[in-house]
């Protein structure tokens, strides 16, 4: 009989995902950032040689060329490289956590609809430690929302309290905005959030959000972690009710700004576009 591990297909190993030391020791190509720095150093050396030669031969052209090479060498080594992680790696890292949440909900056989609940300011409950702003609550049975909200703050609720998958991202967006989302008006958020997502964090190419009559609608185009969203859409307990990290972070932000419980009603991924509909409970 074959060992169960033998029947598994081997995981694909991508050369660019390997650590730098491994890549360098095997003589394989260097990572992009290292390559940029190497080019920068070569430009600096050539620029230095050009400048020295210009002094020796009294050549204006050589001086211009040398100085320009030094400038571009400095730009390549100091300005251009930045720490980037391939979105594929981030997707692989986050997918396990999402899968774990999906499995927990499945194993506990929870039937309720997940609700993003704000923790009232100044409220401290020892069993809500680690959930300082908002949390997701899933009741055991498909009960009324009001009953679920009451259950959520009890010591031992008949359901599950979860840290939202997008909480850290919502915190990051709040930090980058240098504002407190609790003090923000909804209109200000509609103006601020697209800039934060498209310019500051460059999470999506285009982002729009509208809040009207207790409902919010967010549209994102070409999201950086689109593959993760596609992966999450296959986890039926995650998508659409809890959401992928991005839709979940928007739910967290809406919870903070409105100070009301939020339900992620639907989430649709098609043609590089993610559409999410939220309900703001009164």
């Amino acid at each position: 009989m074959r060992h169960p591990h033998h029947s598994r297909s081997p995981l694909p190993v991508y050369k660019e995902n390997l650590p730098y030391d491994y890549v360098a020791s095997t003589g394989a190509s260097f990572p992009m950032t290292t390559r940029i720095v190497l080019v920068g150093l070569i430009l600096l050396i050539l620029g230095g040689l050009g400048t020295v030669s210009s002094i020796l031969y009294q050549s204006t052209v050589l001086a211009f060329v040398g100085l320009t090479l030094i400038l571009w060498g400095c730009l390549f080594t100091l300005v251009l490289p930045s720490k980037y992680v391939k979105s594929e790696i981030m997707d692989y890292m986050s997918s396990s956590s999402l899968s774990a949440i999906d499995q927990i909900i499945k194993d506990l056989n929870l039937k309720g609809k997940p609700v993003y609940i704000p923790v009232p300011r100044g409220l401290y409950l020892p069993y809500l430690r680690g959930m300082k702003n908002e949390f997701v609550y899933i009741s055991e049975k498909d009960t009324e929302i009001e009953a679920a909200l009451e259950q959520a703050f009890t010591r031992k609720p008949k359901g599950l309290r979860l840290t939202p998958p997008g909480l850290a991202l919502a915190d990051l967006l709040e930090t980058k905005s240098r504002l407190k989302f609790y003090d923000l008006e909804t209109d200000s958020l509609i103006e601020l959030l697209p800039t934060l997502i498209t310019r500051e964090l460059e999470l999506a190419e285009d982002f729009e959000i509208s809040v009207k009559e207790g409902r919010a609608h967010a549209t994102m185009k070409n999201v950086a972690c689109q593959d993760l969203c596609a992966l999450a859409s296959r986890m039926h307990n995650i998508c659409p009710y809890i959401g992928c990290p991005i839709t979940s972070s928007i739910a967290c932000i809406l919870t903070r700004v409105t100070n009301r419980p939020i339900i992620l009603e639907s989430c649709l991924l098609r043609n590089n576009m993610i559409e999410a509909h939220y309900r703001i409970l009164q």
Partner: protein, 75 residues
């Protein structure tokens, strides 16, 4: 007497070079800023800072030159 080799560019040449690079970098940074998404692996903020620094250096160079010219015109 042995002549010490001197740098062949004058102050005005350096100013011209600085202006050219400042314009190039500022244009590049503004164009990149309007480009959405991570299409290029460039830290746009740092590039903008470098462009502004070179532009500022050019303004200072011009100010110094203008001050020197004004001083020479004084009786």
């Amino acid at each position: 007497m042995e002549l010490i080799p001197q740098f062949p560019l004058t102050y005005l040449d350096l100013m011209l070079w600085l202006a050219f690079n400042a314009v190039l970098l500022l244009t590049a940074s503004e164009l990149l800023r309007s480009l959405p998404g991570k299409k290029l692996m460039i830290d746009k903020k740092r590039l903008t800072m470098a462009a502004l620094a070179s532009g500022f250096a050019f303004v200072i160079a011009v100010s110094v030159h203008a001050y020197n010219t004004w001083m020479t015109l004084q009786p």
